[in-house]
């Protein structure tokens, strides 16, 4: 955990409103370092800039000031070294599972045989073996999110960025997906930045939980989760940490 994978240094992001010429500050002076293979969760009130931060790291938005470094190189544009997973899956409905997962290698001009091998491997990894020929409209919400994760993994990214990926799933599927994600993460040990509303989810999954303040978003408090995997939600340490973080967030809502 000592090697810094991703450095977010004094990042501010302001959006210009189209009408009236006023600007909103989405993030102010945001600082966070994420280590090699670390799992970090961002929690905070709605509209605190969690998603904005992910988009900045993904390179889909440009910082107004400050710097983002990945492996020491500044981030300015999207790239296959960062995989992004959205809450609403964003699968290509006209592509079957295999072709969705193979999209990254395909646009990177990886030879056909190799990218099909990669896709198959990633599909196996997320537990969808044998579903490669199915189309998104034939899949349940949980399966769609598995495809989205497999698609992000297919480029073998250095960092996996996840924007409330399990937010639209039912409780049971959600728990199952959390365990699947932990299994995948423990397998490939890539860094994960995971945005969620749920403190419980954050404590269950991550090495560190970053609590953000409301708009403009910035880091309020960072909690290390010193519980060993696999974690139990009924564990005393789990509950007390969850309550501590929930209390910290509640202050923010007042």
């Amino acid at each position: 955990m000592s090697v810094k994978k991703l450095i977010i240094d004094g990042v501010t992001k302001t959006f210009l409103e189209k009408k009236g010429g006023t600007s909103t500050i989405a993030l102010r002076d945001f600082n966070l370092d994420i280590g090699e293979g670390e799992f970090v969760c961002l929690v905070g009130p709605s509209g605190c800039g969690k998603t904005t931060l992910l988009k900045l790291v993904a390179g889909l938005e440009q910082v107004s000031s400050g710097y983002i470094y990945l492996d020491g190189k500044p981030v300015t544009a999207p790239g296959p070294d960062r995989g992004l997973v959205f809450q609403d899956f964003a699968l290509f409905p006209w592509r079957d599972v295999t072709d969705n997962v193979a999209f990254g290698p395909e646009v990177l001009k990886v030879p056909l045989a190799e990218r099909l091998r990669t896709a198959e491997h990633c599909i196996d990894l997320v537990g969808l073996s044998g579903s490669g020929h199915k189309y998104p409209s034939e899949l349940s919400g949980g399966m769609k999110q598995r495809v989205a994760i497999a698609r992000a993994l297919a480029n073998n990214p250095e960092v996996l960025l996840m924007d409330e990926p399990f937010g639209s799933l039912d409780a049971q599927t959600r728990n199952q997906m959390q365990n699947e994600l932990l299994r995948i993460w423990q397998d490939n040990k890539k860094a994960v930045v995971f945005v969620t509303h749920s403190v419980e989810e954050a404590v269950y999954l991550s090495n560190r939980v970053v609590v953000m303040t409301g708009s403009p978003g910035t880091v309020k408090q960072i909690y290390s989760v010193e519980l060993s995997y696999p974690r139990s939600r009924a564990d005393h340490g789990f509950i007390s940490l969850r309550e501590k973080i929930t209390g910290c967030m509640a202050e923010e809502c007042r």
């Binding site: 999207p78 609403d88 964003a90 646009v107 998104p136 409209s137 698609r151």
Partner: protein
């Protein structure tokens, strides 16, 4: 509970064909009755007279260059060829221009004003100019079909391209896709359902324009044929021609629907 049959769709069998058959039979019956009552066969033919006329038209010699096909099929083939050429031109130009306008804002601002001025002009209003420019026959008909089919295809393509989900573009960018790959691997496939809808509307409008063009600017084709039998006061043959126009139009629609289901197979499931 007493009037349960008053609630929509409570009394409804598995097989819808009997009701549909009744619809057709009832229509023919009312038509036959009305025509018999009116008793002016030159102006208001009975269904039976129309069937007889169809038979006569099938065996009568075809138009110039199509004598072997018979009058009905010869004119049908001529009309069909015109609509195929005009529609193909409209599909190529409409889709290409639609992709450009729907994808690049600058192209939109540059081209939209002209399109908005030309679009409300009914294709039929172009008939005089079409005849001045292209004379009679094949060329003005193709021009009018192109004109009629072009706008629905263009507008639906523009709509489809503009409605490409932003999330899909973002995902493609994070996966490493460049601008051209995003256009062809995200924008165009995402617009495909809308483009297909435009083609379906376009072929309908094109078919209408064809008949209109043949009514005035031609000496062959189904439109010309029904106009000809107007001038000879043979209403049965005119109606027979109208029937053929309806059947061909329906078959083209069905064919395009089949094509659409094949291209957009991923929507079905």
């Amino acid at each position: 509970m007493s009037k349960w049959w008053w609630i929509p769709n409570t009394f409804r069998g598995e097989d819808t064909r009997p009701l549909r058959l009744i619809s057709v039979l009832l229509f023919l019956l009312i038509w036959e009755g009305a025509a018999l009552l009116a008793n002016i066969p030159q102006l208001f033919p009975t269904p039976v007279a129309v069937v007889v006329a169809l038979g006569q038209l099938l065996v009568a010699p075809g138009p110039q260059g199509m004598v072997w096909a018979g009058e009905l099929m010869g004119n049908t083939l001529i009309s069909l060829w015109r609509v195929i050429v005009g529609f193909a031109l409209a599909a190529v130009t409409g889709i290409l221009l639609g992709i450009i306008i729907g994808w690049w804002r600058n192209a939109r601002d540059l081209l939209e004003p002209v399109i908005e001025i030309l679009r409300p002009i009914p294709p039929l209003a172009w008939i005089p100019l079409a005849m001045l420019w292209f004379g009679l026959g094949f060329k003005p008909a193709v021009f009018l079909i192109w004109l009629g089919a072009f706008f629905p295809i263009l507008l639906n393509t523009v709509l489809g391209m503009e409605n490409t989900p932003h999330k899909l573009i973002e995902v493609a960018r994070t996966l490493g896709a460049g601008p051209r790959q995003i256009l062809f691997k995200v924008g165009v496939p995402s617009a495909a359902p809308s483009i297909m809808a435009g083609l379906r509307i376009g072929i309908g409008v094109g078919w209408m324009c064809l008949v209109a063009a043949e009514l005035t600017g031609s000496n062959s084709g189904l439109g010309y044929m029904i106009m000809y039998y107007y001038s000879t006061m043979e209403a049965a043959k005119t109606v027979a021609g109208m029937l053929m126009i309806g059947i061909v139009g329906y078959l083209m629609f069905i064919g395009l629907k089949k094509l659409e289901d094949n291209i957009l197979f991923w929507k079905a499931a």
